[in-house]
């Protein structure tokens, strides 16, 4: 297949970027999207140009490191997929593909398609944990947790932290990411104890990181590779309201 690419090139956060055109002649439909990018980069290197920087690591949809806006959509045209799981068979011979970094005030661009998502780490730092030290944890079966609660907690905990929710949100809200952790821990008896304090701290950090308001458009759930439910956001709002009232 012949593919025309328009890729965002930007040297660093301080210099303006622009879309640059590239053409690839021998794209194979079975290639993954990132393998197509590898092919482009090899071409660029051999021609003496700087290859396109993009984030990726596990290439099986779980590490959350990859992420691009592909034809104007987070992780590309297929819902509930990471960029690395997208394959070129989703495109046609002669297609033009626009590739841009995930954008948002909270995600400053480092170079080309790489963005700084450390804000997510700082949100977790603010309280996205259970304060238990290593060593002498009580017997695991000491507190039974119903099958449904455990599964529901898992559903929230499955977030891979890729940032597609922020990238696709018209407000660049990090509500889905933050709420998934708030809900995961609030749903478990071990985490519930700190849940009031946790939600206040995490939301405060989320706001400081320059993410916008959640206006419940639910686009994040559609693009989320792990299909994290927007009901986590409701749960966070509930926990937050309770905390504010009982504080």
């Amino acid at each position: 297949m012949k593919i025309y690419l328009k890729i965002w090139r930007q040297n660093d956060a301080g210099t303006p970027g622009k879309m640059v055109d590239y053409t690839l002649d021998n794209v194979i439909p079975h290639m993954s999207f990132l393998e197509m990018m590898d092919t482009l980069n090899e071409q660029l290197i051999l021609a003496g140009d700087r290859p396109v920087e993009f984030d990726h690591d596990c290439r099986e949809g779980i590490c959350g490191q990859c992420g691009m806006m592909i034809n104007g959509r987070a992780h590309g045209p297929v819902a509930h997929l990471t960029t690395c799981q997208l394959h070129m068979r989703e495109f046609k011979d002669g297609d033009t593909i626009y590739i841009e970094p995930f954008r948002g005030k909270g995600f400053p661009i480092k170079r080309d398609l790489r963005v700084d998502r450390s804000a997510f780490d700082r949100i977790i730092m603010a309280g996205g944990f259970i304060a238990v030290n290593t060593g002498q944890a009580p017997e695991a079966n000491g507190i039974p947790i119903s099958h449904e609660d455990a599964e529901s907690a898992f559903d929230s905990a499955a977030c891979i932290g890729c940032g597609a929710c922020v990238a696709t949100c018209k407000n660049s809200s990090a509500a889905l990411f933050t709420s998934a952790k708030v809900a995961h821990l609030a749903k478990l008896p071990q985490g519930e104890i700190e849940s009031r304090k946790r939600v206040l701290a995490m939301v405060q950090q989320m706001d400081e990181e320059q993410f916008g308001h959640c206006t419940n458009t639910e686009a994040c759930e559609v693009e989320c590779p792990q299909s994290i439910s927007v009901l986590n956001i409701a749960r966070m709002n509930w926990e937050y309201a309770l905390s504010s009232v009982t504080k």
Partner: protein, 638 residues
């Protein structure tokens, strides 16, 4: 030189207790004066960093990913073993110990393995306390499943994302300490060298991957938890960034490498579909519980799988291993697949795969039941291959997966460099010549949460009087100069081949000659070709960009330059081990039926390798293995 594994005295089951009772402690006031560097933030790295920080040490932690949460432990699917005996099916610490020793084909240390089994129960407690949502029964108690060639149910799981959930638990603990300022975390930093002062590990040289800046960091001990290097085969189940650089550079500074050639090849990965392919996706081994593996009886079969009648199919695992059938251990299943593929019975466009067929299970249990058990895996298969595995068999093939080999460590997980520790997959310790499924998450966690906190403290108790070092000391300057020289060298070649091209060639070479089966002739040939390739690499490599900026190509080239050296040692290691054991199968040493033939008389030892300098052959120093609690038996799955 004699290797001392420092195994504590006493009966097997009391050794760890004895160690803990006698390990030296550090007074809380003194802990504040002691710094520890941890390289890697996977399960082992995150867990030891947070554990030490909680104790009061100051920890500096590095990872090359953009967040600690993305380390490759995240990708482990199946589960984590623990001898809790919740199912009341006869499990015990001893039984788990025995299964692991036997699974490793009697090439691991008894005391280490027993400790692993002993600490396993505690890990589940720890993880649950951290909020890991393990699968539970309707009554609210933890559930188990059985996994990979054992007779009890001891595998705890969080759907197919157990590694992710355990890692998030460890990562969250780590971030809690970062918030408490007891851990300084540097993401997007890659370790490029260990700095030794008076023979002890006292610091590291790292490169900030976002800016290209070279930094020096000092501490009283350095812990490497940098994971495995299966990515050396290029096509593997590992993440693109997984590498051997940290342990290899430590090796060049004096830490011994142990059994580097022992790489587990996972039998159920998706086959390569073209030369552009960058990685092989793993499909959980649990699929083998219901899937039947077969190839056509006729070579070069062109019919579609569903058109091949039952009598023209060869269910080779069931044929060769009637007792375990499709559930035979990983090394055996992988080898059997390779044997059929090499004999011309492989399927798929590249004839490099075998079928994993669910039609019988679907007929017997119904599609909904199969969907419930494996729905997410079938979905994943569909995402990648656009094929409906409910309607036709999956195609699978073996792929490099786990490094049993790594830095040699003693019972305290310390390498041969004082103050340099290696944890998790980066070390060679518990798995012997073959790792059992669901033991890797366990080992990484046990090393980090339960073992190293004691052993690192024991070491640090002797370092209390050592002051913090100035980073402008000559040792640091020299190390940095060497690191910079290497980077500049890579950039200055300006040839015509990319690092990936070399990596692919090397991977193919290793897979063919030092992969599932090895032979003297093949290994010798490989060593020659690797040397040629290495020479070519330094003549024709092309790296674009500069040293002092973000440069993904330079990172790759650095890693490949190390791989080119590791590969030769792997072949050397495989060549000198004239027996077949676990993942190491030497064609010359097999039974008439084609099964592995171990040689306990001559090779019941761990091969530890000592670096001798650039382009010099390394010296093999064996660490004899003594078995006092188990009888060396032939591993039979027939």
């Amino acid at each position: 030189m004699e290797l001392n594994a420092k195994i504590p005295p006493g009966p097997l089951k009391d050794k760890w207790t004895y160690y803990k009772d006698h390990a030296k402690l550090v007074n809380p006031a003194n802990r504040k004066k002691l710094d520890v560097i941890v390289v890697g933030t996977g399960l082992a790295g995150s867990s030891i960093a947070s554990s030490l920080a909680e104790m009061g040490y100051h920890v500096t932690s590095f990872c090359f990913q953009d967040s600690a949460r993305r380390a490759h432990s995240v990708a482990a699917q199946g589960g984590v073993n623990a001898a809790k005996n919740y199912k009341n099916d006869g499990d015990s610490t001893y039984r788990m110990f025995y299964d692991t020793i036997k699974g490793g084909d009697f090439r691991s240390r008894e005391a280490n393995v027993y400790r692993l089994a002993e600490c396993s129960a505690q890990l589940i407690d720890q993880a649950v306390a951290q909020g890991v949502p393990f699968g539970r029964e309707y009554g609210g108690y933890l559930n188990n499943r059985s996994f990979g060639g054992v007779q009890v149910s001891r595998t705890f799981y969080a759907r197919g994302q157990t590694g992710q959930q355990l890692l998030l638990g460890a990562y969250q603990s780590l971030m809690r300490q970062v918030a408490a300022k007891t851990v300084s975390l540097f993401t997007r930093h890659e370790m490029l060298d260990v700095v030794l002062v008076d023979g002890k590990a006292r610091g590291v040289i790292v490169r900030n991957l976002d800016t290209g800046e070279i930094e020096r960091h000092t501490a009283h001990a350095v812990i490497l938890a940098s994971g495995g290097f299966g990515k050396i085969y290029y096509l593997s189940t590992l993440a693109m960034g997984c590498n051997a650089s940290a342990i290899w550079r430590a090796h060049k500074k004096g830490a011994f490498m142990a059994c580097p050639s022992w790489t587990q090849v996972h039998p159920t990965s998706l086959p390569q579909s073209g030369s552009y392919q960058s990685k092989l996706t793993l499909m959980s081994e649990s699929l083998r519980n219901d899937g039947r593996i077969w190839v056509p009886l006729k070579p070069n079969e062109s019919r579609k799988p569903n058109d091949i009648p039952e009598e023209e199919r060869d269910y080779y695992l069931e044929r060769r291993y009637p007792a375990f059938g499709n559930l035979a251990p990983r090394d055996i299943s992988s080898r059997a697949a390779k044997e059929r593929i090499d004999a011309g019975f492989g399927v798929g466009p590249q004839q490099n795969a075998v079928y994993l067929d669910f039609s019988k299970a679907i007929k017997e249990q119904g599609k909904p039941k199969i969907k419930e058990k494996y729905g997410n895996l079938f979905d994943m298969y569909h995402k990648i291959t656009a094929t409906d595995a409910y309607a036709e068999p999956m195609m699978i093939s073996p792929a490099a997966h786990f490094s049993m080999g790594g830095l040699w460590v003693d019972y305290e997980l310390m390498t041969t460099i004082p103050g340099l520790f290696a944890l998790g997959e980066a070390n060679f310790a518990d798995h012997g010549a073959n790792r059992l499924g669901a033991n890797s998450l366990l080992q990484a966690c046990v090393d980090g949460y339960f073992v190293a906190p004691y052993t690192v403290s024991n070491y640090l108790s002797g370092e209390i009087k050592e002051p913090r070092l100035e980073i402008d000391r000559q040792e640091f300057v020299d190390a940095e100069v060497a690191v910079r020289a290497h980077l500049s060298k890579l950039l200055s070649i300006n040839g015509s081949k990319t690092a990936d091209q070399y990596h692919k060639t090397l991977g193919k070479l290793l897979y063919d000659y030092c992969g599932l089966s090895r032979s003297k002739a093949g290994l010798l040939k490989a060593i020659g070709e690797i040397r040629e390739l290495r020479k070519d690499f330094y003549e024709n490599l092309k790296v674009s960009g500069d040293e002092d900026e973000m440069n993904g190509e330079l990172e790759k080239a650095g890693r490949v330059s190390d791989y080119l050296e590791v590969a030769e040692l792997m072949c050397q290691d495989a060549l000198t081990r004239e027996e077949s054991c676990g993942a190491h199968f030497r064609e010359e040493y097999q039974t008439p039926e084609g099964e592995a033939l171990r040689n306990d008389e001559q090779f019941c030892f761990v091969s530890a390798w000592q670096y001798q300098g650039e382009d010099k052959e390394e010296i093999l120093i064996p660490e004899p293995l003594t078995f006092e609690n188990v009888e060396l038996a032939v591993r039979s799955y027939k």
